[in-house]
Symmetry: C5
Subunit: 96 residues, 5 copies
């Protein structure tokens, strides 16, 4: 999985029928220092995540293993909201 920051939403009405009801969120990848790497991916949201939250997202076929993405043409999904990150003995992130 990669860690990312939810920065926005993508709205689409004309899409594969299977995708009806799924939310698409823009996620910027974060490194272990919680800094943005510059990469952006659009994830289906299996968690009710919101803008500003730090999340874990899975890519590829693994993105179709959640209830909301099963058998759908989705290759990235938010599958966890991050509460805390520890690097060595430092706590580098705590969910506000």
């Amino acid at each position: 999985m990669l860690m990312g920051l939810v920065v926005g939403t993508v709205v689409s009405t004309r899409k594969e029928e299977d995708l009806t009801g799924l939310r698409f969120l823009m996620v910027k990848e974060l490194d272990q220092k919680m800094e943005q790497t510059g990469k952006m991916v659009v994830c289906a949201d299996a968690m009710g995540a919101g803008v500003g939250e730090v999340v874990l997202y899975a890519s590829g076929s693994s993105a179709r293993q959640t209830t909301v993405t099963k058998d759908r043409p989705v290759d990235a999904v938010i599958m966890a909201i991050v509460d805390m990150v520890q690097v060595g003995t430092d706590t580098t992130y705590v969910k506000p």
Copy 2:
């Protein structure tokens, strides 16, 4: 998924039989500011997308989960046309 701009078409008559009838579109990847990242991918088109449209595309095995790409040797598919992009509270793209 990644967000991209449809910039052109690729025509092929000599191809895997399974691919007959599929359209192939050239898509340039976009970042959250709607700027091109420099990467280009050729996507099968499940949506009737046209040059100039902003789309979402799925890669890998997920690209075979649409009706038109099922069981075909296709690793990238356009599965949504983007209507609007919001980053934080800003609307950065609205489909003309």
Copy 3:
């Protein structure tokens, strides 16, 4: 899919039994201006492609969806020969 130029061949006699009879071609990735991006991949050839031809190739599990690659340990396959590329209203490539 990605677009590429066939530049050479890789010969191997000691290989997985399943691979007997498959040809392996070196393909350099092309961008929408038909310029090489610098990346090279070795593709199984499902099309009888030759050196100098512009092709489309699929990667990952999608590369096992052609007749010649089914259930084989192959992760890249040439599945179309490109006849023409159009970017906007310009024709940027026509097969000689």
Copy 4:
């Protein structure tokens, strides 16, 4: 697989139900000289790995082939703890 150094942990209470009980570890990719490449991935832990250990991790659908990750939305898993690395005739790493 890629080789990596476990540098930290990611804690999440709000996550896909399937993920309950899985530990998530931050892993920095290493090259053959045991130097960090700069890439970071969050892996599910199938081995009881700890911070400071050198590990092998598998990505994509292969990450769902361990007992603890089967059918779960996980795209990276630690599947081995590295004891020793040999490059040519040099031993470049021995687990302390």
Copy 5:
């Protein structure tokens, strides 16, 4: 597939049970000029390859299509030893 040079071995005793008996080799990616690109991957060895040999390796789910890797958490496998490489009309590599 990608072409690579076997440069070393990774030894692990504590690993997923399924992996018992598999050898792990460090492989540096090569381009069409037989120069290293800088990328390194650890491959399961389905061919009895040795340090110094030029090989083809498959990644992702395709890496689980060999007899020795079937259903195992392995995402890269050596599936061929390279005998000869031809770029255009030049022979750029012959196995010694």
